[in-house]
């Protein structure tokens, strides 16, 4: 492997290796030493629940119940680890694959699917969960996130003197987004304004089918060097390390010291979305290599080795995961298609003349399709 390329393991923070062995790292130990066995079991549960939901959603798409699905398979550790480091009044801007982070923010997972069934643009209250709606345009939300972070600063939510009351923004995107103009502009704005924001890049190695090696000549974290943002690379399949580096990054940002970029090096075990066929752009050997690095199996191995994962607890979580799958399926099937006119409802916060004109036109157009004679 190229020691300097985007796939190198140069500087990757790892606290739990792929066999579930705990590695000592004095730099990062302070950020995880308070975690109890129960906390770790909680991480395991979070990842298991997220995956169960993910698999169910994939099946629902294959059964024609969803227009599209974006599996997060394999990225659970990066998402749960970082998500569990977030607390009020932090605020999250997800991309569209952050189902694990949504779970840690208390979003009821089936709600995510109204978007993928083509019913709504998002159905949870972002303010109630400090978790913004999904953004499908690659990287577009990085600018909104940076602006939000600058506003938090102006609102006195940063470096207030009471570290427990301070907050920061976490903005998630993928390796492909780092090639976008918006993301690079966001980096620059965040850097020069010392905005309290953590850019969390899940490098799952493929922008749909385009490998990271076609997007960068250096590890993605080093993109931050050029704009003066401190960065860290972490083993994104290690939930402990992902938690540790996010703890550190948030502490840094909340203290008023400015932005941080985290590159979580991981692997998307599934397709980019249900619309593509990954066997066309990557090898079986590659998939098998990463199957050995499954983030859930890794934590499971660690817990089992230390006798901290009882059969009862596993059975309990498995039952809970199964119930979540069932509830997801039932929810999806119960949703009514909303009247088409509702699409005009939330374009602007306040009444808007042009939108009203469009709504009226669409209403008339829609009525022209009603064939009274044929449907009598």
């Amino acid at each position: 492997m190229d020691r300097h390329g985007p796939l190198s393991d140069d500087g990757l923070v790892t606290l739990l290796d792929r066999h579930g062995e705990r590695l000592a790292d004095p730099d990062w130990e302070p950020y995880v030493e308070h975690l109890t066995a129960e906390d770790l079991r909680g991480f395991w549960r979070d990842m298991t629940m997220t995956r169960a939901f993910d698999m169910e959603a994939t099946s629902l798409q294959r059964q024609g119940e969803l227009g599209l699905w974006v599996p997060a398979l394999g990225q659970e550790a990066a998402q749960i680890g970082s998500g569990r480091a977030i607390r009020e009044p932090d605020y999250v801007f997800p991309s569209y694959r952050e189902h694990g982070v949504a779970f840690t923010r208390g979003v009821d997972l089936p709600q995510i699917l109204t978007l993928f069934r083509g019913l709504e643009h998002g159905s949870w209250d972002p303010a109630a969960h400090s978790f913004h709606l999904y953004t499908l345009v690659i990287g577009a939300h990085s600018l909104h996130a940076t602006g939000y972070a600058m506003a938090m600063d102006r609102d006195g939510l940063v470096a207030s003197g009471n570290p427990d009351a301070d907050g920061a923004v976490v903005c998630y995107y993928g390796d492909g987004a780092t090639s976008q103009g918006d993301v690079n502009e966001a980096h620059i704005f965040a850097a020069v304004n010392d905005a309290p924001i953590v850019f969390f890049v899940q490098n799952n190695q493929f922008a749909i089918s385009e490998p990271t090696t076609r997007q960068a000549k250096v590890p993605l974290a080093r993109r931050a060097d050029g704009v003066g943002i401190p960065s860290v690379r972490v083993d994104g399949n290690d939930v402990l390390a992902s938690y540790a580096v996010t703890q550190w990054a948030l502490k840094h940002a909340r203290s008023g010291a400015g932005p941080v970029l985290i590159e979580a090096f991981t692997y998307r075990m599934g397709a980019h979305t249900t619309s593509d066929d990954p066997t066309r752009y990557r090898t079986r050997a590659d998939e098998e290599h990463w199957a050995q690095r499954d983030p859930i199996a890794r934590l499971e191995a660690y817990l089992l080795k230390h006798g901290e994962l009882s059969d009862e607890f596993r059975a309990e979580v498995e039952a809970e995961a199964k119930a979540l799958g069932k509830r997801t399926r039932e929810a999806v099937k119960s949703w009514e298609r909303p009247p088409l006119l509702t699409m005009f409802d939330h374009v602007y916060a306040e009444p808007h003349q042009q939108v009203e004109a469009e709504r009226a036109w669409f209403d008339r157009y829609q009525r022209s399709f009603t064939d009274e004679g044929a449907h009598a």
């Binding site: 294959r62 619309s275 066929d277 066309r280």
Partner: protein, 491 residues
């Protein structure tokens, strides 16, 4: 009283309109549960496994392997409450399924049912009155009494082997008007046909040409009923029988009105094969050279390798040796392993060999290739050849295996054929036909002896491969086949 649910062909990609059925993993009568593998379909994008959406028992499979099915068409039905006692339609999920079921008389359906009525197909008329789904859904779905006599009259049989009567779910593509007689009266093509958008949509879906429909609406407006009755009058029969025969010998198709022929829509692999052959045969000028060669030493080598413990885990065949011989010939004449880029007016010389093997598969003719075959020692090549053959035979060939071939072998020998003039796989410049190996009288070391003899034929794209180059390549393949030790000299 059972409760039925219908599974419709989903859009497994994004914006796909149809998919081919590749394999059913279940059969009628099987007890199934949610998310167990149900069937495999091939879309324009990939092979996709569809998981089962219901717990219950499979009551009908409405599309067969090989069918091209439109997204939204019914493909399977399930009894989701085989032991239940729910009254027909009482269960909310049962009414949920109703819109997808064949509408007995779609003209009587409400606007909410527009989807069902618009997909109702001529074949609906062929539903047997004994069809349990129909029996359940009529009271729930139809708002007006359905003409109960119609199904019994028209359900005259034409049952396809193994699948029972089709309930109008597997869509046939709209047929070209020349396939069957025109519907309805003569239309005046100069005068625009008046019909509302939903009716136009329905006509399009049923394959009815609006200009041929006699309008009954006010001001010459074509109504929904007009389109439906035109479509029904046109109802084709699905048959493929010889007189006196009661076993259909074609799995699908539509018999012509006079009963003297059956027309089968060209689709799936057959369609792609035809397109590939036409594009290859009429863009690349083909020239073929032939060579008859004594392959007794190859046969001896095959026998020795079969006995070799290192090769105990793979099948050793003469095809393996001819593959290796071709790889050696390509190595000596790499210019043959190339393709013509018409658009850019360039010849693309490949620095790798993805060796295609033409294979007859359950899904039709395919040419999967062995990636980077030029790098493989003989044992690896044997292994990959075996994997490729098994996958092809079982219909598991992946789309990736079909892409980016650079040169191909077609093994016509097992059929007892001496040779042929093969058509190039599109994008390649040479294809080698390997004929039957027979014992024949042959002059060997000055005497007539009984030797193993075969014929080789090499077709090439004459735009970039000259006759001399093709001849040299074929001669090299022949030399290795004649004396495999030559491989040591060239390797």
């Amino acid at each position: 009283m059972p409760t039925f649910e219908t599974f419709r062909m989903p859009d497994a990609g994004e914006g796909l309109t149809e998919a081919d059925i590749v394999t059913w993993h279940v059969a009628v009568g099987d007890t199934v549960e949610v998310n167990q593998p149900l069937l495999e379909v091939e879309t324009a994008k990939s092979l996709v496994e569809l998981p089962c959406p219901f717990d219950g028992v499979v009551t009908e499979l409405l599309a067969q392997v090989g069918d091209t099915v439109e997204v939204g068409a019914d493909i399977a039905r399930f009894d989701v409450d085989p032991a239940g006692e729910a009254a027909p339609g009482a269960d909310p999920t049962a009414t949920d399924a109703a819109p997808a079921a064949p509408a007995p008389d779609s003209a009587n359906h409400s606007g909410a049912d527009a989807r069902a009525s618009s997909v109702a197909e001529p074949a609906t008329a062929g539903v047997s009155s004994a069809d349990p789904v129909r029996a359940v859904e009529e009271p729930a779905g139809a708002q007006a009494p359905a003409p109960a006599q119609a199904p019994a009259d028209e359900g005259s049989g034409s049952v396809l082997v193994g699948y029972g009567v089709k309930a109008g779910a597997a869509h046939r593509r709209p047929r070209k008007s020349d396939a069957l007689e025109p519907i309805g009266g003569e239309g005046d093509s100069d005068y625009p046909v008046l019909a509302k958008p939903p009716v136009r949509k329905l006509a399009k879906e049923l394959g009815v040409d609006l200009t041929t429909v006699t309008p009954s609406g006010p001001g010459g407006l074509v109504t929904r009923e007009d389109v439906e009755s035109a479509s029904k009058a046109h109802s084709p029969r699905e048959l493929a029988l010889y007189p006196g025969d009661d076993q259909p010998w074609l799995a699908q198709g539509t018999m012509t009105r006079d009963g003297r022929a059956t027309r089968v829509p060209v689709k799936s692999v057959r369609k792609r094969t035809a397109e590939a052959m036409v594009s290859s045969a009429f863009t690349a000028p083909h020239v073929t050279v032939f060579l008859t060669v004594d392959v007794t030493e190859t046969m001896n080598l095959v026998a020795r390798l079969k006995a070799d413990r290192e090769f105990a885990d793979v099948r050793v065949t003469p095809l393996l040796i001819v593959a290796k011989a071709l790889l050696l010939a390509v190595r000596r004449h790499p210019e043959v392993n190339a393709s013509w880029d018409e658009e850019r007016q360039e010849i693309v010389y490949k620095h790798y060999v993805n060796l295609g093997i033409a294979a007859s598969t359950p899904r039709g003719l395919m040419v999967p290739n062995i990636k980077d075959a030029h790098r493989m020692p003989l044992h690896d090549l044997a292994e990959r050849l075996q994997d490729l053959t098994v996958a092809a035979r079982e219909g598991r060939t992946t789309p990736a295996a079909l892409q980016d071939g650079t040169i191909t072998i077609t093994n016509v020998g097992p059929l007892g054929i001496d040779t042929g003039t093969p058509i190039l796989n599109p994008g390649e410049s040479a294809i080698l036909a390997f004929g039957a190996i027979r014992q024949q009288p042959w002059v060997h070391e000055g005497e007539i002896q009984v030797r193993w003899v075969t014929q080789l034929a090499l077709s090439m794209d004459h735009r970039l491969v000259d006759g001399e180059l093709g001849a040299r390549v074929l001669a090299d393949v022949g030399r290795v086949m004649n004396d495999p030790a030559q491989g040591l000299v060239w390797a």
